[in-house]
């Protein structure tokens, strides 16, 4: 297994390299640059800025420089937030996004799975229809609707929580963003779990367990649930990568200093280094969580062997 993990981490290096290369040139294809503004900058000042950030050098030179810096852990300065380096921005924002994202993910997995199991056990009965109806509604209502409605009810009308802001990470400020992120995920997980649990309950070895007179608890939790977990496990990987790297909508509506907004803002501002930083961070998260999923797979299912 260790050998497998090592091999996967090794293959991540060329993957990252390809991602970095493609994104580097792709963002340069977009017209404009970090210092093109609507008003138009004094050409002398712009030339100075370009020189200062090395943007006057040929593209391939800039690319090699960027790679070299990246290898030394230097993501470069942000062009639009000149007081910060990209690294500093992530050091501040990433923990915020991870806190919110991880809480939402855990909430989604626990509540979603529980709802899914209940629905599967009551297949085609009231509880099942209720879960499915709610889940369908949950996954169709977008976060930019959930968030303002939450603010309207719980912050403005009932005044139980603040409308927005981070307040140094106060608990009351986190509820809104976490719930908003979690709700659609709960819906997705519940539907996934229901489907795979129904299939697991129909399998032959469950029939065997019943024929042997085993208890319902053992049949459902020990024999059905473990197999039914596999689709949830594979969904959690990409979901974790997406949730933990922040959401622009939730972060904007609740005014949270996470990193989700950088992805869009940086691209719009042609903040090349920040775009690249975001890409690298998301790529690393995706690679790592997919690896974790594959390891979990082997833990849940003894038939999965990587060596």
């Amino acid at each position: 297994m260790l050998r497998y993990v090592f091999r996967r981490l090794l293959t991540a290096i060329p993957t990252l390299f390809v991602i970095v290369t493609i994104s580097f040139f792709l963002i340069r294809v977009a017209p404009g640059g970090p210092f093109n503004q609507e008003k138009g900058l004094n050409p002398v000042i712009k030339a100075n800025l370009d020189r200062q950030f090395g943007l006057d050098e040929p593209l391939w030179m800039q690319y090699l420089n960027y790679l070299n810096n990246l290898l030394h852990g230097d993501f470069g300065p942000s062009y639009n937030l000149p007081d910060f380096t990209v690294k500093e921005l992530f050091e501040v924002g990433l923990p915020v996004s991870i806190q919110i994202g991880a809480s939402a993910l855990i909430l989604a997995l626990v509540i979603g799975s529980a709802l899914g199991i209940i629905a599967a056990l009551r297949q085609n009965k009231g509880a099942d229809y209720a879960v499915i109806a709610t889940a369908t509604a949950g996954s169709t209502v977008p976060t930019f609707v959930i968030a303002p409605v939450y603010q309207l009810i719980f912050a403005t009308t009932l005044a139980l929580v603040p409308v927005a802001g981070w307040a140094g990470g106060a608990f009351a400020n986190k509820i809104g963003p976490i719930v908003t992120l979690a709700l659609p995920q709960i819906a997705i997980v519940a539907r996934l779990m229901r489907g795979s649990m129904i299939e697991a309950l129909r399998s032959h070895h469950i029939r065997t367990a019943r024929a042997l007179g085993l208890s319902d608890w053992s049949i459902i939790i020990k024999h059905a649930l473990r197999g039914a977990l596999l689709p949830i496990v594979s969904y959690s990987g990409p979901a974790a990568a997406a949730l933990l790297t922040g959401s622009i909508i939730v972060e904007s509506i609740f005014a949270i200093p996470g990193v989700g907004r950088y992805f869009v803002e940086a691209a719009l501002n042609r903040d090349y280094t920040l775009v690249m930083g975001t890409v690298v961070v998301i790529a690393i998260f995706t690679i790592v969580f997919n690896l974790i999923v594959d390891i979990l797979y082997a833990v849940v299912d003894p038939r999965v062997r990587y060596d």
């Binding site: 032959h204 070895h205 065997t208 019943r210 024929a211 007179g213 085993l214």
Partner: protein
């Protein structure tokens, strides 16, 4: 051997299923009983309700099914017991094993874990005691190295071993009655014989009763004291085994008995031309390997086998699963990469690429085992049958194609009027006829028949065998007939090859192979398949 005490009695049992097409009566008021120590066989074809009767007794009917009547086990009506009362009997006094040994065990837990669970539950003993008990059970079902096997997962065991483990789980709590639903159908014939012997032996040793659900009359003869014959949800005949076999009363029972494949094929003249020949055929599969993954393992699926198929000849290839019989046939048709020389119609084709092979494909056809999976569900039967013509004879008109489809339909004994229906509207036997029509419409010289009758009931099997014989005669076809069912092979082939582990063990005429086998393996195979019922009856 059988006592007089009735332990299970089924009275006026009715089972119905609510389906999208309305209510289906699967079992229509049947009566049955089992005495202590007795082995009862329930025989019938698929859909006769034999399995559902037993599923009802175990309260394992699908959620859309309901049972009425009584199933009485020692004074308790199993149909009315509360779940906790039921689970005192289920798995302890009355147990069941199933047809699917590959999927009936939980893939995610070790054999030991699964074996210990019902022991601990029903006997209320601790882990260590249950472990010892479980090892004892594995010994009893003759699993080698039981202590090591406790730590194995189901996927690490063969089908036969898994069925042994299933049996061990079922008998671990010393039950009164073991219900076995086609427990050997999915197994190779030598394994089948071993499992049957084991079950008969255990039944005697433990003094339990057994209900054996099967469609295989050979097994009934070998194992049962008494027989119930079921058809369309009713018991049409019952009696002791000897009487049923010697003096069947009901026409259906007679038909069932007559459905054993019979007849034999005349050998082709020595002068018959060779159509397809493979010399020194080898097929090797590479397993594993890749970037940093260590060295791959090579598996010799076919190891230096030579075949010569003459015009009008049927070569039967027999052997157990994994013996390489299908792989050999596919390699000969160049559907798999292989080494060795292949001659078709006097031309060496081993170096042909797919484009060169294409014009030859129409003369080299194949019919697969699975009549459900091998027909596209989105095409009509007529489209399926004529699809090959689109490739090999694109110039013919739609009207002409349809005419040929109708012709092919009547050739294989299907009503041409049904050619616009979809595969799911046909029965298993009819689907296999469609698959055969699809092969012969191209006027092939060689047809590979890969277990074409294995998924079918005996009676249907017999009809397909007869159809294949007639088609061969009419078109002078050559068949490569792959099967693990020796009775069918004996009826079809004029030359037989026995394969084991990728090698050819023995070949010769049917008389030679069936009546005077030389090799030990062939002898074992024959002994397992055709036991004389008088001496095998236990």
């Amino acid at each position: 051997m059988a006592g007089n005490e009735t332990i299970l009695s089924v009275e006026n049992l009715k089972i119905r299923f609510r389906t999208l097409d309305g209510i289906v009566d699967a079992v229509k008021g049947i009566n049955m009983h089992v005495k202590a120590g007795e082995t009862v066989a329930v025989v019938g074809e698929s859909g006769s309700g034999k399995s559902q009767t037993m599923m009802a007794a175990m309260r394992l009917l699908a959620s859309n099914g309901e049972a009425a009547g009584t199933i009485d086990y020692r004074g308790a009506n199993l149909l009315n017991l509360s779940k906790s009362e039921l689970n005192e009997i289920r798995g302890r006094k009355v147990t069941m094993i199933f047809q699917e040994p590959m999927t009936s065990l939980d893939p995610l837990y070790t054999i030991g874990n699964q074996l210990m669970e019902p022991i601990m539950r029903h006997r209320r003993i601790g882990r260590e005691a249950a472990r010892q008990e479980a090892i004892k059970m594995l010994k009893l079902v003759r699993i080698p190295e039981p202590e090591r096997r406790m730590k194995s997962y189901p996927y690490e065991m063969s089908g036969g071993q898994r069925q042994r483990v299933m049996i061990a789980m079922a008998i671990a709590n010393d039950p009164d009655l073991l219900i076995a639903d086609e427990p050997t159908t999915a197994l190779d014939v030598t394994i089948q014989a071993e499992i049957l012997n084991l079950m008969a032996d255990l039944r005697k040793r433990l003094g339990m009763s057994m209900i054996f659900i099967t469609h295989d009359l050979n097994i009934v003869r070998r194992i049962a004291d008494r027989v119930y014959v079921m058809r369309l949800g009713e018991v049409v005949e019952e009696g002791d085994t000897r009487t049923i076999f010697s003096q069947p009363q009901h026409p259906y029972t007679k038909a069932l008995l007559a459905a054993e494949p019979s007849g034999h094929k005349e050998p082709v003249p020595k002068s018959a031309p060779t159509v397809l020949a493979g010399t020194d055929m080898r097929v090797t599969f590479k397993i594993g390997g890749g970037f940093l993954a260590g060295d791959p393992v090579y598996l010799k699926a076919v190891d230096r086998v030579s075949v010569t198929l003459k015009r009008g000849q049927t070569i039967g290839i027999v052997g157990e699963s994994g013996s390489g019989k299908s792989t050999l046939a596919r390699a000969l048709l160049k559907l798999l990469p292989s080494e060795g020389a292949i001659q078709f119609d006097g031309r060496s084709i081993e170096k042909f690429d797919p484009a060169q092979m294409r014009p030859l494909r129409k003369q080299l056809q194949i019919v697969f085992q699975d009549p459900f999976g091998s027909l596209s569900p989105r095409l009509t039967a007529g489209q399926i049958v004529t699809e090959g013509l689109l490739v090999h004879d694109p110039s013919i008109s739609g009207k002409e194609r349809d005419r040929r489809a109708a012709l092919a339909f009547s050739e294989v004994g299907l009503d041409p009027a049904n050619r616009n229906r979809y595969p799911h509207e046909f029965s298993g036997g009819q689907r296999q006829r469609i698959a055969i029509a699809r092969a012969i419409i191209l006027k092939p010289k060689v047809v590979v028949l890969d277990e074409p009758t294995s998924a079918l009931d005996r009676q249907v099997q017999k009809q397909i065998v007869e159809l294949l014989r007639d088609l061969q005669k009419a078109n002078n076809l050559s068949y490569l007939f792959i099967s693990h069912d020796l009775a069918v092979v004996r009826a079809m082939a004029d030359h037989i090859m026995v394969m084991k582990d990728g090698r050819m063990v023995e070949q010769g005429s049917p008389e030679q192979i069936f009546d005077h086998p030389h090799e030990d393996y062939t002898k074992r195979l024959m002994a397992a398949a055709f036991v004389d019922h008088a001496e095998a009856k236990v």
